[in-house]
Symmetry: C2
Subunit: 348 residues, 2 copies
């Protein structure tokens, strides 16, 4: 059975166009266009008359026709790895909120951080004539770089580093933030600190978190043990696995720097399930601070990765570029901080 809504085709209302409004209001369609677009060159009386007809006929401008004529769609493309992953969802919400604020809609697509999909999606977005694109990706590969270079519309990277520094982007200082996190662990006297990073094909993990981890250790004259560097996926289960892997070592670590909250929780549970206490026996610091961080015992001490803000600022930046406003700096660095909770011992 067809949808009750549309049992009979007549149920689909025929669209009323700007011509219909014009005719009913005894003005030209240009005038209707003006009142619809808030152009001031319309006599108040005329505007009122038109507005009434619009109301009566339930006229709704056809955004597609408008887009064709004006070459603006008031739509931006958003390409993210995976919306079902909390961190991207958070960013997406930031993007959408600001987009809404500036009257844009977003076309959202998941890339699964698959280069091929990313390229296809960019092409799709270009074809759909979006006015701009916000992109989140693990790494700006050469092919990606090339496609973005040829983009007919502005692109802003969110939470994504472009090593060529050629595109607008919004990030935090991942290196510094990671350095501070590891330092916090070092300050608590740990000599064996594991780094459960998340995939190393992600530029942020490989070039910033990892490098910062190494630097913090060597600055403190601590040995860098490759066995303590675990490039797992970002999931909860890989956190548990990482724990298991590393605790079979002759000299297991006493502290962990985890690349994400899920990873950190996996580690915490791995420890607790095996009779270790956090933070008494094992200390863990995370890098994310999603709401999950408070939903474990002990609650996680974590570097704050302000995903919502990153998304929001990226979108704001995009509106400026689309609007051809002057941009002070196209590479925005948002301040970060560490939220201290219970998975690391107080040190004062």
């Amino acid at each position: 059975m067809m949808s009750l809504q549309y049992k009979n085709k007549e149920a689909y209302p025929l669209t009323v166009t700007i011509y219909d409004v014009a005719r009913e209001a005894n003005v030209s369609m240009a005038t209707v266009s003006r009142v619809v677009n808030g152009n001031q060159n319309v006599k108040p009386a005329t505007r009122k008359k038109v507005l009434e007809v619009i109301e009566r006929l339930e006229y709704r401008p056809n955004a597609v026709a408008r887009g064709l004529a004006s070459k603006k769609t008031t739509t931006v493309g958003v390409i993210i790895p995976d919306i079902s992953n909390n961190i991207y969802a958070e960013a997406a919400r930031g993007i959408e909120d600001i987009a809404t604020m500036y009257r844009y809609n977003i076309i959202l697509a998941n890339s699964d951080q698959n280069e091929e999909k990313e390229l296809t999606l960019l092409d799709t977005m270009y074809g759909k004539q979006v006015d701009g694109i916000v992109m989140m990706s693990d790494a700006v590969t050469p092919k990606l770089h090339q496609s973005m270079d040829h983009s007919p519309v502005p692109i802003v990277l969110a939470g994504t580093v472009d090593e060529s520094n050629q595109f607008a982007s919004v990030n935090i200082d991942y290196f510094q933030a990671s350095y501070e996190a590891v330092q916090m662990l070092i300050a608590n006297g740990h000599k064996r600190i594991a780094f459960v990073s998340g995939p190393l094909h992600n530029t942020i993990n490989s070039k910033f978190k990892l490098e910062a981890y190494k630097k913090a250790l060597s600055d403190a004259r601590l040995e860098i043990d490759e066995q303590l560097i675990l490039p797992e996926e970002g999931s909860y289960d890989s956190g548990i696995e990482a724990w298991e892997t590393v605790m079979t070592l002759e000299q297991p670590p006493t502290a962990f720097f985890a690349g994400s909250d899920e990873l950190a929780i996996g580690i915490v549970h791995g420890a607790q399930d095996n009779g270790y206490k956090v933070p008494e026996d094992i200390e863990v610091i995370s890098f994310e601070n999603s709401k999950l961080a408070r939903m474990v015992r002990p609650q996680l001490t974590s570097v704050v990765l302000p995903l919502y803000d990153i998304g929001a600022v990226a979108m704001r930046l995009l509106t400026k570029i689309m609007n051809k406003e002057e941009i002070e700096d196209q590479e925005v660095i948002i301040p970060h901080r560490i939220e201290v909770r219970k998975s690391v011992k107080k040190n004062d």
Copy 2:
């Protein structure tokens, strides 16, 4: 400074149209249109020639123009309460995956379950000429109902009940699922079972979960105590609050039926933080089964709410309706089950 990408306006590539391709290939634009749209009435040699030119000129059909001419945008609108909420994100992913499979893109928007926003968003979607809409909402209010009734395009409700049974929808049997959950607690001997529902303005909470809770109790000849019914928000903190509220009662409950995983985790932590053991002292069953359910100790026993599937099936249903295929049943009920873990004692 402007984006490096576009230092000079010439950097914006001028768009190549179907005419350009036609001219270069010495054919009419109709022929180009045919090869682009896979029409078979083109000689292979001609097709090849056109394809080459398309490649060389990097021609990309303008989806906006196409949309205007064909009255199809291959875009569907998705209205959900909040993408940063895991359950909606999960559903969104299901929707997007199937949409991609059928070559649709999605315009995603957050309504914050605010009726006004929902109405505005519907109007926006209509204006953008989406080919269909997937909607998730707390409740189909009269106004919403009316707007949807006048929709120029098909709408499918996902995880949302429409009491008028007038729209296509995809759900599970919330009543039955809830009944089973409460029964499980009753079977374990509990006489005082609290129901921490989530907001009651949500139809699913008020009409199904709550009713099922009451029915399960009365069927077991247990007293229904209004003090044990807690319409909190769905958040972790409200779970903790619910715990605190209810444990001050003279006869506190010994088991909880929680409307969501976050709520359940809040309750578990509330209990644990106060020296109670789960499930020894307190049993908790949740309704959601997100990945969170496994990320607590004890892991949550939970009714499985298959959000991804609900989204995917809703989108699939929508494609059928958009395609004017015959629909067996426009109100789809997906099977549910209860995932048994550790927050409820084994009973055999």
